[in-house]
């Protein structure tokens, strides 16, 4: 048992990040990064959503409760939303949620929000690198002690 935990601690900790990407821009951006063979850290797991406006704050809170170390939400640039205003609504929601979580003591570095268009594969890779860096700076998620 002790040997095992020792072994674990010497291993470098890899953050697990859940990424909510909008179908029309950021998901295509991630796809472009893939087909262009741009290297980026393999720490993210992608959830494709129709629009950032689809992201219920519950998704974010529940991800943290389940032990994900960080969140990345990415949508279309302002004015580019396929559904006209979904990203603006998501931006307001996220702004309030992030401020509230920061107030309650959840590190804001875990909550990342950005815009990536379908043509920005390079930007997507950079954003992922930045997100991983942010999440690494605050360490593993130990906010909620209950394991479901």
């Amino acid at each position: 048992m002790t040997d095992k935990s020792k072994e674990k601690s010497t291993e470098e900790w890899k953050p697990k990040i859940i990424a909510f990407l909008c179908n029309w821009c950021s998901y295509a951006g991630a796809d472009l990064a893939g087909v262009s063979r741009i290297q980026y850290p393999p720490n993210i797991r992608v959830v494709r959503v129709p629009c950032t406006g689809r992201i219920n704050p519950f998704f974010i809170i529940k991800s943290l409760a389940y032990g994900w170390d960080g969140i990345l939400v990415s949508g279309c640039h302002p004015g580019d939303c396929h559904y006209i205003s979904g990203n603006y609504i998501a931006r307001r929601r996220f702004a309030i949620l992030r401020d509230l979580m920061t107030f309650l003591g959840i590190e804001p570095e875990r909550l990342n929000f950005t815009w990536v268009s379908a043509a920005e594969g390079e930007r997507f890779a950079k954003i992922v690198r930045k997100t991983v860096e942010n999440v690494k700076s605050v360490g593993p998620n130990k906010i909620f002690n209950k394991k479901w």
């Binding site: 529940k62 931006r91 949620l97 107030f103 309650l104 003591g105 929000f113 906010i143 209950k146």
Partner: protein
């Protein structure tokens, strides 16, 4: 003398209610009545003009009566409204939950309500048998103790900074029509927590919320919690746990607060009904600050302004965006 003003208000509330019922202008009066235990008040629903003597008005009237207005109620309702009840009604009208034509707002100028939790901390576990408020003093009689507390020290913090002592819209106003406004609210009370580190903040809130027994009194008292199915009661899917475990409590209170973002009218009903004396206002007050700073919005003031979560602007602040570098 504060006490006389309060007595006068109580008298004119009864008269006004009686008049409205007799003239058949309203079918129902919603007001405050004496509670079953000292320093408490409860809601009362009066349809008969002879019963208006039940109505009371004092510093223990801390519930938000807007909670009792239902969406599909066709009756003409007269409601005794202090400032925050009026704000809640305005916001519910904005959210299309109420029909303005059916409601007669009897506005009262409110000088603040008691913070019962603070009194209980002062008294401890002892039982209060009788309590009176006289000459700016709270006189408490217990089983084998007597205590006199200065009234102004036990007024709810929210009431001290409150800018809306009378409802923003009203049909009748009882009491001081132009109450003094306190200086600009700068949310100073939040500074102490905001300056702490993430870990300390988390420890503080975990300690507070650990006391929660998940009775949902805060939800039941909140005029803005009108969903027919609350997220926490939902079974398909089960979003979050219902146990009184600290992580479940933390999540519940975080989401409940998030759901009243830009809607909270700072009436303080949630903390005044909390049986464990948790200061829930602290979280909703922070939300009030966020919404004020980000979207320059205060809930329940203006019938025309759209709620901030139902609208958007091209140039909303987005300083939190991560950028490549």
């Amino acid at each position: 003398m504060v006490i006389n003003i309060i007595d006068d208000i109580e008298k004119s509330i009864r008269e006004t209610a009686k008049k409205l019922l007799e003239e058949k202008k309203v079918d129902l009066i919603i007001g405050y009545t004496k509670g079953s235990i000292p320093l408490r008040s409860g809601p009362c629903f009066i349809t008969d003009a002879s019963q208006t003597g039940m109505l009371v008005w004092n510093q223990s009237c801390d519930l938000n009566l807007a909670k009792y207005l239902a969406k599909n109620d066709d009756r003409k309702i007269g409601i005794i409204s202090k400032g925050c009840v009026g704000r809640a009604i305005v916001h519910l009208i904005v959210e299309k939950q109420l029909n303005k034509e059916n409601i007669t707002i009897i506005g009262i100028s409110c000088e603040g309500v008691l913070n019962r939790a603070k009194i209980m901390v002062e008294i401890g576990d002892k039982e209060i048998i009788e309590a009176n408020i006289e000459d700016n003093k709270i006189i408490i009689k217990g089983k084998d103790f007597n205590k006199t507390l200065p009234l102004q020290d036990y007024i709810n913090q929210l009431c001290i900074t409150c800018h809306y002592k009378i409802p923003p819209i009203s049909d009748i106003i009882i009491g001081n029509k132009k109450p003094e406004k306190p200086p600009k609210d700068d949310f100073k009370d939040l500074n102490e927590i905001e300056s702490k580190s993430s870990n300390d903040k988390m420890e503080y809130f975990k300690k507070e919320l650990n006391r929660c027994i998940r009775c949902y009194a805060c939800r039941e008292a909140c005029p803005m919690c009108y969903c027919s199915l609350c997220f926490i009661d939902q079974n398909k899917p089960v979003w979050f746990g219902k146990t009184a475990d600290i992580s479940d409590n933390f999540i519940f209170h975080m989401i409940r607060a998030f759901h009243v973002a830009g809607r909270c009218v700072s009436c303080g009903a949630c903390s005044s009904v909390c049986p464990m004396g948790i200061d829930l206002n602290f979280i909703t007050r922070k939300l009030e600050k966020i919404v004020k700073e980000r979207f320059d919005f205060e809930s329940g003031i203006n019938l025309e302004a759209p709620p901030p979560m139902g609208t958007h602007k091209f140039d909303d602040k987005q300083e939190f965006m991560i950028e490549e570098d």
